[in-house]
């Protein structure tokens, strides 16, 4: 109790200095937390992926389509339960800055395959019935203040022209990892238009989404599908949904690595800031350490006092930083809803904050503590004179 009291009193001898240090730690911990959350948000699609879903695309590239005729042949592969398909539509809503992911899908099979998209039965039926109908995620609805029955026009980029849809359903995610900012509509609507305007592009799909009866059978199904279309004009590449999502993320791996490096650089900077504070405090108190040594306290007692003070300051700064990470994340999420739709501070991030607190607290105290241990009593007492 006495020691804890002494640590508190020592920590706040220079109120302004300690307050500024606390603020620096808090901001750094918040920055660290937000950067780690950006990384985890990037991987949220991976977390949401199912072990019983596969994606089949053209083996050359996702840009090249696959014939619609593959659907029935894939359906015949053993252990396949559902086959759905779709195209990345890439439509623009009013302005490019209003980006959100939009797909043309086979609605019935798609919704069967993605049970994590929750729609009310009425809206589901309404969506399935209306060929021009569309479904959108809850966050997208909130963002553009749409309501059921609204006419939504997307300007096609891959498929030129103005495309009109009627909003028939709003989905919400079954859990936090589900992206609620997507927009999807009937693939048939797209295909019928293409038959009239660009027949060469009709009856072709961007990718197949395949349901497997058991995760253990995924590997066999992957091989079976790709074997089926071997040496065809459009060879396929089938992979698990997780691998498919990761392949997308790997395209932006350099950015992720950069963010991770910056997050640790932030911690490195804060080590320097706290170490500077502790060094100044220890230098000012050299005579006190000499007095304590005179009274019989050992070098390790002194080191313990410095380490304790460093940990205390870091802990307070870290607690403050963790507390402001949540409102910070909320503001961040509101600012860029379209790029990182799932942006939540994870428990792991908080544990990393605590590891950072321990690391910063210990590393910052090392040099001042070592110097305090080394100081000779006579030299320390001379500082007073």
């Amino acid at each position: 109790m006495f020691i804890l009291k002494l640590l508190f009193k020592n920590a706040f001898r220079h109120k302004l200095r300690t307050s500024l240090t606390l603020l620096s730690i808090a901001i750094a911990i918040m920055a660290f937390g937000l950067l780690r959350t950006v990384v985890s948000a990037w991987y949220s699609g991976v977390e949401a992926s199912s072990a019983t879903r596969l994606i089949t695309r053209n083996s050359i590239s996702l840009v090249f389509p696959l014939p619609l005729a593959y659907k029935d042949r894939i359906r015949q592969v053993e252990n396949v339960t559902t086959v759905s398909f779709g195209n990345w539509f890439g439509g623009i809503y009013i302005d490019r800055k209003n980006f959100f992911p939009n797909f043309a899908v086979d609605p019935k099979t798609y919704l069967d395959l993605y049970p994590e998209l929750i729609l009310s039965p009425e809206q589901r039926q309404a969506f399935l019935r209306d060929r021009k109908g569309a479904a959108a995620g809850k966050k997208l609805i909130e963002r553009f203040k749409w309501k059921i029955g609204d006419l939504i026009t997307l300007q096609g980029t891959i498929f030129p022209g103005n495309w009109e849809f009627v909003l028939r359903a709003i989905y919400r995610g079954r859990d936090e990892n589900v992206d609620e900012s997507q927009f999807f509509f009937h693939w048939d609507y797209l295909n019928e238009a293409l038959r009239k305007t660009a027949p060469s592009r009709a009856d072709r799909v961007g990718f197949y989404m395949i349901g497997v009866d058991h995760p253990n059978n995924s590997s066999n199904v992957v091989q079976a599908i790709d074997r089926t279309f071997k040496n065809s004009l459009a060879e396929t590449l089938t992979e698990t949904e997780k691998a498919f999502t990761l392949s997308f993320i790997s395209m932006s791996e350099a950015i992720i690595v950069a963010i991770q490096i910056v997050s640790f650089v932030v911690i490195g900077i804060i080590v320097a800031v706290v170490a500077n504070t502790m060094s100044m405090a220890a230098r000012e108190r050299t005579w006190e350490y000499a007095v304590l040594k005179t009274l019989g306290f050992g070098g390790w007692h002194i080191a313990g006092l410095i380490l304790g003070e460093s940990l205390l300051i870091t802990l307070m700064g870290c607690a403050l930083g963790m507390a402001i990470t949540f409102p910070g994340a909320y503001i961040f999420k509101k600012s860029v809803p379209m790029y990182l739709p799932v942006f939540q501070v994870e428990e792991t991030t908080l544990y990393l904050d605590l590891v950072a607190f321990l690391g910063v607290g210990i590393l910052s105290a090392l040099i001042p503590a070592w110097r305090a241990i080394q100081v000779r009593i006579a030299d320390g007492l001379r500082r007073i004179a």
Binding site: G299, R376, A378
Partner: protein, 231 residues
């Protein structure tokens, strides 16, 4: 009766650049239990160095220092620290109280190294503060106390562990005349009533007068003995 402090053939020098400067040369000194000894001499004569060596704050080059039967020159750093905690009480010129702690907490500091319970520590601290007549100011921090009061708190801190010897380095050097007189009277009373062995370094002849014995150091050598009747 064997002396409480026995110093034999003690030499000490400091390194200044690449040469050694002798500070104490072949010092032999016995201090009896219950003595109040004043060490006087000009600046740089080695008084404080001798005091530091007796108190185990510094290492000798040659010779031995035996305090209470323990040859402290053979102790390691950590053994010396443990020995100081129970056998030596320090009184410094500038009081050296921890500014963020109250008078009570400053006096309690040395007791943290003992196995005493919180209640026992409280009893010891209150007794020590009563001896220096500062019970009423136990919750004040050093900046709220006068110089004389701070030095009395320092004396309470020095005696709270009931050490074998008390060492004082210019205890009145930073005090006005009245406060200095109070502090010296207190030390004298401790010596007389509790038979505490006190070794005091001082420049002040008035302070030296309070001591039973005065020894003079000059250029690292001990000179004549001045025995005095207690004042």
């Amino acid at each position: 009766m064997s002396p409480i402090v026995e110093i034999q053939n003690l030499s000490k020098s400091y390194r200044r650049g690449d040469r050694r400067v002798p500070v104490l040369q072949n010092i032999n000194l016995d201090i009896q239990e219950g003595e109040f000894l004043a060490l006087m001499g000009p600046s740089g004569s080695g008084k404080s160095t001798l005091l530091n060596l007796i108190a185990g704050l510094d290492q000798v080059d040659d010779g031995t220092v035996i305090v209470g039967g323990v040859n402290i020159t053979s102790l390691s750093e950590s053994e010396l620290a443990a020995w100081r905690a129970t056998h030596v009480g320090f009184i410094f010129q500038f009081y050296n109280l921890i500014p963020v702690l109250t008078a009570f907490e400053n006096v309690e500091l040395p007791l943290l190294l003992t196995g005493l319970s919180r209640r026992e520590r409280r009893e010891h601290v209150e007794l020590a503060l009563r001896v220096v007549n500062l019970e009423a100011r136990m919750d004040h921090r050093p900046p709220q106390l006068s110089g004389g009061e701070q030095q009395r708190v320092a004396i309470a801190r020095a005696i709270v562990t009931d050490p074998t010897i008390l060492v004082a380095d210019e205890p009145t050097g930073d005090l006005d005349r009245v406060s200095a007189e109070e502090v010296l009277s207190l030390m004298e009373r401790l010596n007389r009533e509790s038979t505490k062995t006190i070794i005091m370094v001082t420049h002040d002849p008035r302070a030296a007068k309070k001591a039973g014995i005065t020894r003079h150091l000059d250029k690292g050598l001990l000179n004549d003995v001045h025995s005095q009747a207690p004042v």
